[in-house]
């Protein structure tokens, strides 16, 4: 039972990270300047630097990105 629970949690973790990776690429490319005006015109290095954190915090940034459209 415990093993099944851990297995489910681990696969949820994989799904979270996988979606986060896809989101992070799109966010660093198009979204970051809409969420944070200071990021407008920022270079490639800056966008690479925020990738790992974006993978971790993608739900927060996704919400802000969506709100920026509204």
């Amino acid at each position: 039972m415990a093993e099944q629970i851990f297995t489910i949690v681990v696969y949820i973790f994989y799904a979270y990270v996988s979606f986060g990776l896809l989101f992070a690429i799109a966010f660093a490319w198009r979204g970051v300047q809409k969420v944070d005006r200071q990021a407008a015109g920022s270079g490639f290095g800056f966008r690479c630097l925020i990738l790992p954190g974006t993978i971790a915090f993608w739900p927060l940034l996704l919400r802000r990105w969506l709100h920026s459209h509204q």
Binding site: F6, Q38, A40, G45, F46, I50
Partner: protein, 656 residues
Amino acid sequence: MSHLSRRLRTDDSTSARLASTHLPGPSFLAANYFHRRIGSAPSFPITETFFPMSHQYAAISWNTQKRWYDIVLIAGIVLYSGTFIALSSLLHPTATVETLIIRAAGSCAFLLLTVVLCIGPLCRLDSRFLQLLYNRRHLGVATFLMGLVHGAFSLVQFHSLGVKDPLVSLWTSNLNYNRFADFPFQPLGFVALIILFLMAATSHDFWLRNLTPPVWKALHMLVYAAYALLIAHITLGLLQTERSLLLAIAVAISFAVVLSLHLAAAIRERTLDKATARESNQTFVLACSVDSIPDSYAKTVSLHGERIAIFKYAGKVSALSNVCRHQNGPLGEGKIIDGCVTCPWHGYQYLPESGASPPPFTEKVSTFRTKIIDNKVWVDPNPLPPGTFIEAASIPPHGADESQSTSDFYIGYLSQSPPDVRRRVRLFVFGSLVVSASIALLFATVQEHFANSTFEFGKIREFHGTLREDPYPILIATDNAEGNSRERLNSYLLVAPGKHGAEHLIQSYKGQTVRFKGTLIARNEGKMIEIVPSTTNPDSTANPVENGATELGDRDLAGEIVDTKCFLGVMNPGEGKVHRECAALCLAGGIPAALFTQDLDGIAKLLLLTDPSGAPLAQSAYVQRVGQPVRVQGNVFAFNGLLYIRTSADRISTLP
């Protein structure tokens, strides 16, 4: 107050926010600094014309101090890891290189984290250590990277190539979560690594701004949780295998140093708080005497639970919140530079009378009303809204001698730090390197748990003999497969690559004489072959003479249940607490289980576990007792040069 137009930010963030107004006179240094950061080459005076994108995240330029910081950091990591691996290889030639990398990276990460945690309180106790705080994020990221090397190698070594997903294996190979001594230590390290990752990934002002300072600060305070998890990880893991008292003492000392420095800093602040005057004049509270505040500096007081920094400058006194909006740095330990309160941590600046950053910056801190009566400073402890302008209280002429010198205040963007700071930091760095090298020597020397085993990784031999399954797959060979000139009977346990048994590879050849390719694994008299798949072919030339089974009687043995593949040499150490999770995964994959005992007639032996009928013992009978001291009762047989013990779940128990 004429130089309100720039920010002396000296951290490694990439937010290069520049002033939008002219930077005359003494602003040259700061302007030059920004010039370097932005990577353009404007001529002075700097105007907004040159920096139209002043609110932008841009790469920061390097300066001499930053280069030295990182050079020393990298040199320290190389010195530590190199010393440990070189000496360990020399003293323990059978130790596998993966094990040494895992231990070098893990212990290095722990040492770095210890240093990271010491820097904060050290700076509170003595501002001459502030240079260490500058670029501390590089130290933090290096800590994570060394932890990542440790974690990645461990995950590959212990949890990959098995029947479970590596992360599932990490969490489920040892389910003794209800017993402290047997508690799985690897998940503790994994959680600590996740925390370090989150801290490293958000080590950028973009995250400070977008997570908001309170959330960002709370996230980074998790470093203490990570440190506690690592202490538990080491205590429940390495220290239960390498039982050197010196190693335990070294870990205890590092913990004691971190704890005592934090306590000392806390006690000092508490003492300062208590020393604050308690006289009250209606709304105003007596804070301190004017003379107790050094010119251009502050005195920090705690009034009604509020930390207030009272600055003396240009014949005036102003009070504002002690907490910097950037990373909660202690403004009261900063200095008035060019008319601005300058945070000692990363150079954020605020106007002393309004608590607002000079335009175009927007950070604001609370201000407090002040007045001076009889050369004493009185402060209204009720904070005014951040950015509220309050006219400074004027000091009678005798106390208004502001010094413009910045020689004793550390500024990160300058090419050199003040001599006193330089001396102190050099001493600290030299001491840290000596201590690190000593710990590497100590750690390499006290390791004892390496067996005299061999895994000929990458060396493929050809073997031939008879395949049997009694009940585990074995090869009985009568040739000189190991290059012996004299033929003799050899029994080899057989396994597949990775963490898998060899049943599926010999299924079609049971009882037949075969020839195949494989890699030899050996520890003392125990021998095993990792078969190269699809290389097995019938061979009629070999015809071994098998020995009959010899019953050695009922035995009551104490020892450890191991997976034979790792134990015989694929890993070193291939037993003990540090290897438990890997052993459980190997056994789940069909690697033969055995009892390693040193009590049978006083000689170390390996006894394969079977049930009373002679079939492989069910994993449920022993899987939660792997890698720990156990007592096994059963009937012992010798067959074809191998020992077996026929036992059952109720005859296996854990020893205290």
